[in-house]
Structure formats: C-alpha cells, structure tokens
Amino acid sequence: MRVLLIEDDPRLQETLSKHLREAGYAVDVSADGIEGLYLGEEFPIDLAIIDLGLPQLPGLEVIRKLRNRGRDFPILVLTARSEWQDKVAGLEAGADDYVTKPFHVEELMARINALMRRAGGHARPLVELGPITIDLTGQRVFRGEEEIELTTYEYKVLNYLVMHPDEVVTKTALSEHIYEEDADRDSNVIEVFVGRLRRKLDPDGTLNPIETLRGRGYRLALLLAA
C-alpha cells in the first residue's frame, strides 16, 4: 500500500517515513502543500497523512482540493493543533481521521491500519479467506492454526488484493501501490510474488486463492468474510 506523507518538519518526515516503510508501506513524501497536492493527484496513493500547518498551501486546502478532484483515498490529518475546532475543520474538509502531535507511533500506525481496512470494506482487523486468516494489524497470515511466513513484498501484494476485493487488479496497479515513486520497478517481479504467494497460501493447489485473468490482472478468488 502506498502512503503519501505531507509534513514540513524534515526530522518528523524522516522519522515517520522510516516507521511507515518498516511497517511495509511504500511512502511518498512532500514538505509543502503544492507538491503534496500534486503527488496526491497524480500518483496512485492509498492513504495520505497531511499536516495542517504546511508552507505554500495549508493542509486544509490540500484536503479540500484532493476531495474536489475526486481523490477518495483515506486522509489522516496530522496536526499540532489539538483543538476540536481544527479537528472538525479538517474532518469537514474531507479528512477521515486525525492524530495530534505529539503522538505514539503505535497509535498512528493503528489509525493508518484502521483507515486502510475501512477503505477496503473491512470493519475488523481479521480477514478470513476460506481457511486462510489475515491479521491486518499484526500483518500475519494463518492457514488454520499454522502461521504462513511471507516476505514484505509478498504480504504487500496480498494486502493490496485483500483491500480491493471483487476487483481485477492489474500488475501495473500492484506495482504502483507496493513500490515508491522512485523505485526501480519490474512488472515481472509481481508475477514472481504472486506465484510464491499462491504456493505459500495453497501448497496443495486445491484453493486457488488468487485467480489470474489473462491480459487483465489478478483477483482474489475466495469469498471474503469480514
């Protein structure tokens, strides 16, 4: 999943993007409102974290413009303004949640996770895919009682597919959402990840959890039970 972080304090930007990357997100960063708006409009962002006090274009305006231009990914406001009039203004402008500075990283991650989950239509952090259970908070996958070990990129692919149930996801989309903008992409690698995922999730080849639609992309084949 790809996260856009618009934060003007370079120290906080650096620390936060480090945490986000460690949590498995592809992160795009910006230090001002205009560039942040451009990134939010032009790139396939899954969630944006926007500081309200931004140079050049205030955070509230960035949120409004993104919403006006039809960008509906979850937006989390990150602000030093902890007063409710600012929180309400942010939420009314189109944000989905807020975290006030200073914050516990765990709390921020939990909020991001919850927003992603909700955007994917999952109310609970545990997603059941037939016999396979995915813990979206702990980023762990189980088959029955047994935990399946996945690499970061394998989990990212699975996570993106889970967040887009009943959708055909192209290799390009997968590549765009799991890699950052400046990463060196190779769509063949996606095929490798999907192949490995299939083997790990369904070693017997009986479930066929990820369906390939030739020339179009992939789709989760098992019925999701939220």
Partner: protein
C-alpha cells in the same frame, strides 16, 4: 442590600428642596403681607384721627363738641371694631361704637406726636394715640389725646384670606413643580437608562459594543467602555495567539522525539515516552487551556445545536466502523455564553470519549437552566453504553491530569481539558452511571 437609586435620591432631595423653598417663600410673602396690612391699618387710623380732629370743637367753657355731620356708620355702630376716644383734662368724647368697651390705659403723648401699638397680650386691639394741643379763646393751650382702637380681627380676616390664597397658589405651584421634576428626571435619565440597557445587551452578548447615540456627557463613558471591550478582546487574542503559538511550536519537536524513541530510545524508551506524555498532557491541559480560558467577560451566545451536529458528524466519520447510533434531545434555543472554540472543545472531548467507549449508542440531552435569565445557563448530559467508569476511578478522573485509560488517548486528557473549561466558566462537572449502561457526564453552566 440594594442601594437607593439615583432617581429616588434626586426625587427625594428635589422634593425636600421644593417643600423648603415653597414654605420659605410662603412665610416671607405672608410676613410681607402682614406688614403691608398693618401699615395700611396705621394709615387708616391716622386718617380717623384727622377726621375726628376736623369734626372736633372746644367751646369757650372748654367743653368738647363734635360736629353733627361727623358720622362714620362704623363709629356709630356698637362693637363695629373701630373705636375712638378723645381725652381732655376736663372732658372726653367716645364714639358710639365703643359702647360698653373697657378702654385700656394707653398712657399719654405729647401734642403733635402719635404712637401706634400692635395688639399685645391681653389687649386685642391695634391702638393709635395722637397728642393734640388745642388753643382756646384765651390763647391757652388745652392738651387732648385722640385714641383710636381697631379690633385685631379687622386685619386678621384680611391676612387669613391672603394666607389661604397664598398656600393654595403655592400648593398648586408645588404640584406643578413636582410633575415637572418627574418629567425632567424621566427625560434626563433616559440616556442613562439607554446606556444601562446597551451595557446589558453587550453583557448578554446581543451586541459587541455600545452603539447608541448618547448625550455629550455620556459619550466619553461609552467611548471608554468600547475601548475597554476592544482592549480586552485584543489582549485576549494576543495572549491566546502567544500561548497557541507556543503550544504548537512545542508539539512538533515533541512529536519528533516521540516518533524517534522506538528507533533510538533503546532501554530508556519507556521512561522517555512517559516524560513526553507528561509534557504533552501539560501542554494540552495547562498551556492550551490557559489560552482558551481567557474568555471574554461579555461573550456572545453560541447556539449549541449546530456545533453539536458538527462534532457528531465528524465523530461519526472517525468512528464509522462502530456504527454508533446518536440520540439527541436538545432544546433548540440552547445557547452557550462563551467562545465557540471552548464549546467545540467541550463537546468534542466529551463526545469523543462517548464514541470511543460506547458500544453502539450515545445519547445527548440538554437545555437551559433558567430561560428567563439574561444568560440562561445550560445543562447537558452525555451518555454512552460502554463499560462505564468504575467508582474507584471517578474521583481520580476528576483530578487534574489523570488518565483513565492508557491504551488510547484516554478519558483522562479529554476530561481534564473539559474540567479546565468548566472551571473557567464557573460551571460544574459530574460523572455517574447512565441507564444505557455506560458513563453519564453531566455538565452545568450557571445562569447569570
């Protein structure tokens, strides 16, 4: 005790002065009239003397003879009130009117001299005695005294009629002056009443400044009150901005420290996290509240309902996954006399806790405490169907800076902020159990 009103003071003092002044005028006029009446009577008595002298003859035998034509009807009528006597050494004459009259002893006077005497104790007459030296045929001078007595009732009637008329006139003048005084007070005090009304409107928040047209004497007062209001607002804005700016500028470095702790904190991460939490709590409850609590003494009313709906709308977005059902029974006219941001802060923190801890239901009810007061005050209950707050935690939660739940941004910080706000507005906060099953927070702001 309510002090005596300015209008009543002036009315009382004015009436007293009026009564004293009219009384003094009455007394002076009465005395002057009395003097005029007496001196006019004296002149009349002198003229009687001359009349008598004109009619008087002394024959060669030294006997007194009065001209028969001398006939004043009042001198011939007994007890008419005017009595005349001519006294000589050998003879005397008295007017027929003095029949049965006991003549007082008025002494003697030298010829050519007259003595006027006002009624004294035991003598109910004005008297005038005039000395005459009558030259007889043998050229000797025979002394005579002409005594004129006039009953004091003669001028008493006159003066009492005058006095009655005088007091009536003064009474009428007094009534007219009192009515005029009432009108003057009404007219004169109207601008003061207007200022008082305008100040009350500013106080109740219906207007931001004194905007009427006032008389020249009150203009400086209105101008200075407006300046005071502006100064208060600008001071408040300045303090608030300074505190806000300080709070905001402290938070980002703190966020950097807190976010960096898991990466660099090592063994001391937990204790440093606690320290950062403590600073964060202090900023939230003290620094930001200090700015927010510099509320204006004469704040405009803020309708509660629309702000409540904004908060509920925002929270339903944040807690959309919980599908919370909100039941709202609020009096439409309910108003908060304070800053809008303080109201949002209060509602936001209380409802955030209710949404956070509630399972599926939140109830908000409220109304005015005293609808007839200029500032009706308000009461509000916010309830949820969550786990509620344990008895043992209640007292602890109501203390400053205690956190009820460490897992998330607990009841503690939100309630602590609400406590600071409620205290700043001289309100009251109570926590008990809701019939929904969870906590019920009751907030009251007194009427004023």
């Amino acid at each position: 005790m309510r002090s005596f009103s300015l209008r009543n003071r002036l009315a009382l003092a004015g009436t007293l002065v009026l009564v004293i002044a009219l009384g003094a005028v009455g007394l002076a006029l009465n005395a002057a009239n009395q003097r005029v009446a007496v001196s006019s009577l004296q002149a009349r008595m002198e003229s009687y003397v001359y009349l008598v002298l004109a009619a008087m003859e002394v024959n060669d035998n030294g006997r007194l003879q009065m001209d028969a034509e001398f006939a004043d009807p009042r001198l011939n009528q007994p007890s008419s009130g005017i009595y005349i006597q001519i006294q000589g050494r050998a003879d005397h004459w008295t007017s027929p009117s003095s029949l049965g009259l006991q003549w007082p002893d008025l002494g003697t006077v030298a010829p050519g001299q007259g003595v006027f005497t006002e009624p004294a104790k035991g003598i109910g007459f004005f008297s005038y005695i005039y000395g005459v030296g009558w030259q007889l045929a043998d050229e000797s001078i025979e002394p005579y005294a002409v005594l004129v007595l006039v009953d004091e009732s003669e001028i008493r009637q006159e003066t009492s009629a005058f006095r009655l008329g005088l007091w009536r006139a003064l009474g009428a003048a007094g009534i007219i002056l009192v009515l005029a005084q009432v009108f003057i007070f009404f007219f004169g005090f109207r601008p003061l009443k207007q200022v008082a009304g305008d100040v009350a409107r500013v106080e109740s928040g219906q207007s931001a400044r004194l905007e009427g047209y006032y008389p020249r004497e009150l203009e400086p007062l209105a101008r200075n009150v407006n300046r005071l209001l502006e100064t208060e607002k600008s001071n408040q804005d300045r303090i608030r901005n300074a505190l806000d700016s300080l709070a905001h500028s402290l938070k980002t470095p703190l966020a950097v420290i807190q976010a960096g702790l898991p990466l660099h904190g090592g063994k001391s991460e937990a204790s440093m996290q606690n320290a950062v939490d403590e600073i964060r709590h202090l900023i939230g409850t003290r620094l930001e509240r200090a700015g927010a609590s510099t509320r204006r003494t004469m704040a405009e009313p803020v309708a509660v309902e629309p702000q409540l709906q904004r908060i509920i709308g925002s929270l339903q977005k944040v807690y959309s996954h919980k599908m919370i059902e909100v039941e709202c029974t609020l009096e439409k006219s309910m108003a908060f006399y304070g800053e809008k941001r303080d109201l949002l802060e209060l509602l936001g923190n209380l409802l955030d806790n209710a949404f956070k801890y509630g399972e599926s239901r939140v109830r908000v009810s409220g109304g005015a405490l005293d609808p007839d007061a200029s500032r009706p005050g308000l009461w509000m209950h916010i309830e949820d169907d969550g786990p509620g707050i344990e008895e043992s935690q209640l007292a602890q939660l109501l203390q400053r800076g205690t956190r009820g739940d460490e897992r998330v941004e607990g009841h503690g910080l939100g309630l602590a902020i609400v406590m600071e706000l409620v205290n700043a507005y001289q309100g009251a906060l109570g926590i008990d159990h809701s019939e929904l099953g969870g906590a019920r927070i009751a907030v009251r702001f007194p009427a004023g």
